[in-house]
Amino acid sequence: MPRLSYRRALTRALADELARDESVFLLGEDIRVAASNVTAGLFKRFGPERVLDTPLSEQAFTSFATGAALAGMRPVVEFQIPSLLFLVFEQIVNHAHKFPLMTGGQCAVPVTYLVPGSGSRTGWAGQHSDHPYSLFAHVGVTTVVPATPADAYGLLVSAVRCDDPVVLFAPAGALDVRADVDLAALAPVPLGRARLHRRGDDVTVVAVGHLVHDALAVAEELADEVSVEVFDPRTLYPFDWEALAGSVARTGRLVVVDDSNRSCGIAGEIISTVVERVRLVAPPRRVTRPDGAVLPFAPALDRAVQPSREQLRTAIRHVMKDG
């Protein structure tokens, strides 16, 4: 089977959707020459009407996409850096997200916001290293964080086809992941459906995005000690609560590892929803960025602010010891 990289899976999903549906088009900065290396080859294949380079006017082009969507198109907007989502927060949250309800169902806003390279890219420092997916899970915009190439493909395809706005975060830590993939078997992955990467009996580890790979590695490492189930929500909003409740009901223990800030992050949401529904045998634990984290430049500091395998191991051992 050919090896497919996560990044090329995204490229392939865009190409397939552009080919399938005339109403799909791409919009973003430097996407013609594919500076982020996600849209490689697409300008050549689909031309300037389908692959639009924009000026540095994020607010306007985000709302331009909303307008185009209101007129029946399915824009995909690429953002070069995750914090650009802060800059267009108004346009996504207060407009794209709210249009259907506010108009009493007169319209839909099927826009995909694609953020390749979210989270820390070592050395990009404070303003370029955010992982703001929990913010979108709070406001209720569909939020997707694929971990693997096949999921990156399948979730991006589903995002483009979704009638609502969807933000897809492609973590920097996952972009270079490669996997053996049967290209013919690549298929849409439904939004809101989790994936169990590894079965286990003792503890459910919920891991988001690139941290799924860390969770799997830690699970292997600790295999003699504890049987770890690795649960990848894939979509953070809407979350696959049923699947998670099933997993935790079996294991009775919960650890969440999530690369966003601790306070009001998705890890807290997961713990909270689980304890409302399931009696755990030990207090749950989470491994996250610190509260209010700003990533310092120096690589060792940057790393120190991100969730680590060491922290995950500690958390797993704690929940095993505690109950």
Partner: protein, 323 residues
């Protein structure tokens, strides 16, 4: 459409005037909750501009948006029902005054965020044109909006991509209580010139002058021209918002208000009609609005169980907030 002849133009100006007056009564009687931003005094602009448009053209408005919605052809009865929060309203009671929309006649909605409509209309028109329609669009906004970066970004996009959008700035002298001179460095036509967009200044109190300027611009745009801007000089006859009827804010000298009110678009256009014709139109408008009030108040109130209807166009249902 309203049509462009003097009688139809008068009819629309009058309709908006009386609509607003009836709406204010309904604010006073408690039927319109939350109040409105009355369009009184500015009717000639919406009426004049929309007289230059076809039903397939698109417009988006502002918080002071009733005039735009009506002039573009929305049913006054359903509009008033919307203000009263009834299921028979344009937005099924979900939008209210600031979000009234009628996609069926090309109204993408009033908009509660100053400066937001420019990019949305630009995207919608671009999309319609790509499909081969010869749609043009209008973005209405106030003098306050020309200081919003998001609107200026939209100017740039529209100019760059030659999207035929008519930017209509209704300069009524104030943004809430802030006089134009205290807020706008440079000038409003200068804002357009910065992006190579042709701009004209018109007397916004004269509906025919507005219509003529808008028609000329629309003709050029349909013939392949890019965006244009019209600054329509006008005056807000009433409060910024009906809350001012209860809480007096001191910012407009009474003489200025008197001077502003002395140039009334209803009279300016009405005086062009033979008195009996004018009287007939007035009577007709009264009848329409009497029916509208009746229709509005007869509409059912929405069922709280459906509070989240249309939240997601994709059919996703949200978790409720209960304990």
């Amino acid at each position: 459409m309203t049509g462009a002849d003097p009688v139809r133009l008068y009819r629309m100006v009058r309709l908006i005037r009386r609509f607003e007056e009836r709406a204010i009564e309904l604010v006073r009687s408690g039927h319109v909750v939350g109040g409105i931003h009355p369009y009184l005094g500015q009717e000639g602009i919406a009426a004049g501009v929309c007289a230059a448009l076809g039903v397939d053209d698109v417009v988006a408005g502002t918080h002071r948006g009733h005039g735009h919605v009506l002039a573009k052809g929305a049913d006054p009865a359903r509009m008033l029902a919307e203000l009263c929060g009834r299921v028979t309203g344009l937005n099924a009671g979900r939008g209210g005054s600031m979000h009234a929309a009628d996609f069926g006649v090309g109204v993408l909605g009033a908009n509660a965020i100053v400066g937001a409509s420019g990019a949305i209309v630009t995207g919608a028109v671009w999309a319609r044109r790509r499909r081969g329609d010869d749609t043009v669009g209008v973005s209405f906004f106030g003098d306050g909006a020309v200081n919003e970066g998001m609107l200026l970004e939209a100017f740039n996009l529209a100019a760059l991509w030659r999207v035929p959008v008519l930017f209509v700035c209704e300069n009524n002298g104030y943004a809430t209580t802030m006089p134009v001179a205290g807020a706008v460095a440079g000038s409003i036509p200068g804002r357009a010139a910065a992006f190579g967009i042709p701009a004209a200044v018109v007397d916004g109190q004269d509906p025919e002058a507005v219509r003529d300027a808008a028609s000329a611009a629309v003709d050029r745009m349909r013939a392949g021209g890019g965006p244009e801007l019209i600054e329509a000089l006008t005056y807000r006859f009433d409060a910024h918002h009906t809350f001012e009827h209860a809480v007096r804010l001191d910012y407009r000298p009474p003489e200025e208000v008197a001077r502003g009110r002395s140039r009334d678009p209803v009279d300016i256009q009405g005086d062009r009609l033979p008195a009996p014709v004018r009287a007939d139109v007035d009577a007709e408008v009264e009848a329409v609005l009497a029916g509208a009030v009746q229709f509005a108040l007869a509409g059912a109130e929405p069922d709280p169980a459906d509070a989240l209807a249309h939240l997601y166009a994709s059919g996703l249902t949200a978790r409720t907030g209960g304990g």
